[in-house]
């Protein structure tokens, strides 16, 4: 046991001595947390609109005013020249073009039906659907207004209807940050720890110090544990700082027990550390370790449910999230912090992660070779 303490002490000395890496390991993740939490919002808050009003009537003006009154839409330009439509898309000044045709007003009153056109730049599908959805709502409500003005108020009194009342639990204001911050925190800590551990043993191999250690009677598990514990501490430290910042800056709710959170964090970090050490055992150079670790990180991050819900993925991709510690981490953080899920509720995540931890660390110890 005492042997272990010496290894841990040495790792800590090295961590604190590397003046170039220390800020990268401590301050940067915190900055990232703050920046990313502000950046990763899928809410569409602004849609740029180009208006081509060929009608120039009271009708068209009222519609445009009504749209402009909604603070999502920014009318960036308007003209009557059809060439401007193309130009506004190319310049990126418009996401949607609203085209009010000639005689729109006349058709409305005379033919009792008229039409407006929406040209939607659908390259960014989400912005396109959200934007056109909002525009539909606005035009429909404008339609109702106009209809009531021409005294055709009643929307079929005989129709049966089902009124829907809905409530969003846990996050009634649908605050996106409450949802993102715990997930981002988990993701950042895991990425950092994975990459640092993946590089660690390889570095000793590159420098040659590993050979000196291998001729000592040190046990494999002592060595691996000695490497694991300092990084576990670093990870826990970052989690604590991150959670405090999350509470202070973003007021994220902490409904559940923090003990549950940290119990899970420990298991999950141990899994990640095992993965990192395993990679480290196999890599020949630091560069290789970095790239292989990076490869996995990018897959883990994209398929962790942080940015797109796992429920929306195809089944095979959902299966791929089972060995992904980040996916479990994000789920546990969200459920426990926001909803107050207990350890029993999250037992599936705990068990799966525990098994992963066991597998990776056993592999890390077994594949660590003291002989060549």
């Amino acid at each position: 046991m005492i042997v272990l303490l010496y290894i841990i002490k040495k790792e800590f000395l090295q961590i604190f001595r590397d003046k170039a890496m220390l800020p990268l390991m401590t301050v940067l993740p915190i900055i990232q947390l703050i920046v990313l939490s502000n950046a990763t919002s899928n809410e569409i808050k602004q849609v740029n609109l180009h208006v081509e009003d060929m009608d120039k009537s009271q009708f068209s003006q009222r519609l445009i005013h009504k749209i402009a009154a909604n603070n999502i839409f920014h009318i960036t330009s308007s003209s009557q020249n059809p060439d401007d439509v193309y130009r506004s898309f190319m310049n990126g000044t418009a996401d949607i073009v609203l085209r009010i045709p000639n005689n729109a007003e006349r058709d409305f009153y005379r033919n009792k039906s008229t039409e407006v056109q929406l040209l939607i730049d659908a390259i960014n599908g989400q912005a396109a659907t959200v934007g056109s959805g909002y525009l539909n709502v606005i035009v429909n409500s404008f339609n109702k207004e106009m209809r009531s003005e021409v005294k055709m108020i009643t929307p079929n009194p005989n129709g049966t209807m089902i009124a829907i009342e809905y409530s969003n639990w846990y996050n009634p204001e649908l605050n996106y940050k409450h949802f993102m911050v715990p997930g981002i925190l988990g993701e950042l800590v895991i990425i950092l720890i994975l990459i640092l551990t993946a590089m660690n043993i390889v570095k000793e191999r590159e420098v040659g110090t590993i050979e000196q250690i291998n001729v000592t009677p040190i046990k494999k598990w002592q060595f691996i544990l000695g490497k694991l514990i300092p990084f576990l501490c670093l990870g826990l430290f970052l989690m604590v700082v991150g959670l405090i910042l999350g509470k202070v800056l973003f007021d994220i709710p902490m409904v559940g027990s923090l003990w549950t959170v940290f119990a899970y964090v420990v298991i999950c970090l141990v899994t990640v550390l095992g993965m990192g050490l395993l990679l480290s055992n196999y890599a020949d150079t630091q560069q290789q370790a970095i790239f292989v670790a990076f490869f996995f990180v990018i897959i883990f991050v994209l398929l962790c449910g942080l940015f797109t819900p796992i429920e929306s993925m195809p089944v095979w991709a959902q299966k791929l999230t089972i060995p992904n510690p980040i996916a479990h981490f994000v789920a546990v953080m969200r459920n426990v912090l926001l909803k107050g899920s207990t350890m029993a509720d999250m037992s599936y995540r705990f068990i799966v992660t525990g098994i992963l931890a066991l597998i990776f660390n056993t592999l890390a110890i077994v594949t660590y070779k003291k002989t060549i």
């Binding site: 170039a20 039906s113 089902i162 996050n171 290789q288 940015f307 929306s312």
Partner: protein, 369 residues
């Protein structure tokens, strides 16, 4: 020129020798494109819901059947009381509980107005909104099925919506430019900064620097192979986009490739800049990860809309090369724009490249003095 090729060749050997890194570099574009193309969809289906049927009537049974028949929802559980909602949400699987009140059928048939309640797990705001939308749509369809088609009213303002550039709303149109920007940056900037940092660490850089070859030749020779590799990857991604995801190349292919080349040069300049600052591979790695990868992925408008971000981040987004590059790609490739529409973002990239090079040259010189 000869010495340039000598360095170039040496770097090619390094790349070819290290099979694992090479494998990652080749696999990465494939994996990313496949993940973005197939795994990350906003398709909404089989979302798990629970039902609390207090009515237990014929009509509520019909409604439940209607829900069960939909592709969008999967009935995971039936619960008995309001108290059961909390525990079921805490498990994290069920996202919505549909509550059918006791008087549902009676209200519907007698009063012509019935109530339904959706209780949604709001932790995931976007998802909560989507669940709500789809569920509402489903209930509306159920209502109209029960009462027959509505005739349309007079004084109708019709809306003709046309999705241009991407009529089928394929998500590939959005992610492909982003993936290209990411991969090119990864290989060009990260690899070069790492490889230069490695030569510094092992001391081989000194040997190269004392040789009669000019430092510029050394650096250019080192980055050359990575430029080629990035370019090969660009072509792979483009081919996958065109043949697997049916993304068109509407503008000039030559213009597109020239623009990719310009961006590769910008990324290389950035990589050189990082390597002049970084003493070790670890620092270079963390530096490129934090300064390049994260902002490129998150702030260039590829995953998240830039306009929703706070002002300081919108500003950062403006100084990220990838922002301009994705704009160029979208214009040339998807909107079929000509040179005149990309001259501004291309100019910005050229300017950035020059700035990066001047700074790295400056810090390179001060180091030698």
């Amino acid at each position: 020129m000869k010495s340039y090729w000598a360095i170039f060749k040496k770097e090619v050997y390094h790349i070819l020798r290290d099979r694992r890194t090479l494998l990652v570099l080749i696999l990465l574009p494939f994996t990313l494109v496949l993940i973005f193309g197939f795994a990350i969809t906003n398709e909404f289906k089989d979302s798990k819901i629970a039902i609390l049927d207090q009515s237990k009537s014929v009509l509520s049974g019909e409604l439940i059947n209607h829900v069960a028949a939909s592709q969008h929802f999967f009935i995971d559980d039936y619960i008995m009381s309001i108290e059961d909602i909390e525990p079921i949400f805490r498990k994290g699987e069920v996202k919505m509980v549909l509550v059918i009140p006791p008087d549902f059928e009676e209200a519907f048939t007698r009063m012509k107005k019935a109530d339904l309640q959706f209780i949604i797990d709001g932790t995931e705001p976007n998802f909560a909104n989507t669940v709500n939308q789809y569920a509402s749509r489903m209930v509306n369809r159920f209502t109209s099925l029960k009462q027959g088609q509505q005739t349309s009213l007079p004084y109708q303002i019709g809306i003709e919506a046309r999705m241009i550039f991407n009529p089928e709303l394929s998500s590939a149109y959005n992610f492909l430019p982003g993936v290209i920007a990411l991969i090119l940056l990864l290989i060009s900037a990260m690899m070069t900064s790492l490889t230069i940092a490695k030569e510094k660490e092992t001391g081989t850089m000194e040997i190269l620097l004392v040789s009669p070859i000019s430092p510029l030749t050394i650096i250019l020779g080192k980055v050359g192979p990575y430029a080629v590799l990035s370019f090969i990857n660009t072509v792979i991604i483009l081919v996958m986009g065109v043949y697997i995801f049916d993304v068109p190349i509407r503008g000039s292919l030559i213009l597109l490739l020239v623009m990719c080349l310009l961006y590769v040069i910008t990324a290389l300049a950035l990589g050189i800049l990082i390597s002049t600052k970084a003493k070790s591979q670890q620092v270079a790695m963390m530096g490129s990860l934090v300064v390049l990868m994260m902002p490129t992925m998150l702030l260039s408008g590829f995953l998240f809309p830039v306009t929703s971000m706070p002002m300081p981040l919108q500003f950062i987004s403006k100084i990220i090369p990838a922002t301009y590059f994705t704009e160029i790609i979208k214009n040339v490739m998807l909107r079929g724009a000509g040179l005149q529409y990309v001259i501004f973002p291309a100019g910005v990239l050229v300017l950035m490249t020059l700035v990066f090079l001047v700074i790295s040259l400056f810090s390179f010189k001060t180091r030698l003095e």
